[in-house]
Symmetry: C2
Subunit: 275 residues, 2 copies
């Protein structure tokens, strides 16, 4: 049986619910973070907890759980569920609100599930379609995915696998991943502003800096179309090559060699973390 | 006891809940509408149902309830609760999603509650504070109030009662109401684009047109500061005078005579609807 934590309680997942006056349901108000476990070990947990508390702070949600208590809850959930390779999501909502508008005591939800398999896209690479949009309060991992969910039919229509947001000709991020290009002179470039600071993004920036020139700066749509390689980073996907954007072939149209190199570096780093 | 409808079922309100894999909780994805009942009679119900179905259509949420079935559910809820003067909210969420991202069968929630009392603000008028923001998918009444809830502390700090959004120097709307000005030559002006088409807004436009010149067009921040009168319209508030914006006095600083005239016209129209 699968378990979920609601506030302090571990309960069967199918019974995990929130009353309808919670501000997530009333006003789409809440934050979350999501990390991976491999062999029952959380990957980059401290980074994810840092960001969880930061997102909560940006959205003015008080967290009544210390880092230690939160880690203890995570350990309890992992022990109950016993899914060695998993994704764990910690959500904090605006809470049960009497008037359906004013912030209340946040509700905490922790869910665990098996991980999706993204290996096919490692080999073939992804197609992205761009769309003009800027996420609200981008530094926070809020539950606001209105545009992302709404754009799923657009993505399918464009025969793409995900959307890449841009605003004023500068690209920012995908709904659930960060975006990188490799330029003609082998510089690794990723947008530095108006984005979510991804945990894998941070690790990849550090790994890339050991081998290449690295820049966090504006990336225009033209930069993307003319890139030698492109890839995305995310907790679920690690590094995935991008081979087409808006129907235009990136580089050779096959996953790039620098992308593969960095994907291997990341894989090694994660395996070292498991020791 | 207070009752709520979840999908087809009438249940005690305190037991009304959604499982945590609903897309409202996972991704802030859903729509709603909200109407008033007076003496157990829904006010402008057809307009609200029109917009409910339109919002659902914009968000690609299939509604499995015909207008007649929905009206029947509303009647049942009103009979159970017996709150003659009330607010009724019909919410439709993205549904229980296996992967927490892909649209599923929507969940319907219908809640009823007593109305807040806004009479004090009728006399004193409201203070608004402006903030640069454009709602996502503005023609739909989605549950996305991330910025609205987040800005409550800003509004308090500015000693205002609500926020007025603007973008590129043009004002649009408040989070839960439409915005109007009366110009020096007694023309009634309200923004026509990038807004939610309010049900009371529509009625007020028709009432105003019988007495004054009326224009739906761009309203700049300067237009607002120089207006002779200003007011907001909403289902909960009807017409409320605005007497200060960003700390600047509008007109005489007291509720305007044209605002009062239109508020009376609206009151009469609502009373006629009750007969």
């Amino acid at each position: 049986m699968l378990y979920t934590i609601i506030n302090n309680e571990i309960i069967p997942a199918e019974k995990a619910s929130l009353r309808v006056n919670d501000l997530a349901i009333q006003r789409g108000y809440g934050i979350f973070d999501f990390f991976k476990t491999l062999k029952n070990k959380p990957i980059f947990l401290e980074d994810h907890l840092d960001r969880f508390y930061q997102s909560a702070s940006i959205l003015q949600l008080p967290v009544s759980y210390s880092r230690e208590v939160l880690k203890d809850l995570l350990q309890q959930l992992m022990a109950h569920n016993n899914i060695p390779d998993s994704g764990i999501r910690i959500t904090l909502t605006g809470g049960y609100s009497a008037d359906g508008y004013t912030l209340s005591s946040p509700n905490l939800i922790i869910t665990q599930q098996a991980l999706p398999d993204n290996r096919a896209l490692q080999t073939t690479g992804m197609h992205l379609a761009t769309y003009p949009h800027q996420r609200q309060l981008p530094a926070a991992k809020s539950i606001d995915y209105l545009m992302a969910v709404w754009l799923q039919s657009f993505v399918k229509q464009q025969q793409a696998q995900d959307v890449l947001y841009h605003q004023n000709n500068a690209v920012t991020e995908c709904p659930r991943s960060n975006f990188f290009i490799v330029t003609a002179n082998d510089t690794i470039v990723t947008p530095g502003h108006h984005i979510l600071q991804g945990v894998i993004r941070k690790q990849v920036l550090a790994l890339a800096a050991a081998r290449f020139a690295v820049k966090e700066k504006e990336v225009t749509l033209q930069d993307v179309y003319q890139a030698k390689e492109a890839f995305i980073t995310s907790t679920t996907k690690n590094i995935l090559p991008v081979v087409k954007v808006d129907g235009q072939v990136i580089g050779t149209g096959a996953p790039g060699s620098i992308t593969s190199l960095l994907a291997n570096d990341l894989q090694q780093l994660i395996e070292e973390n498991l020791k």
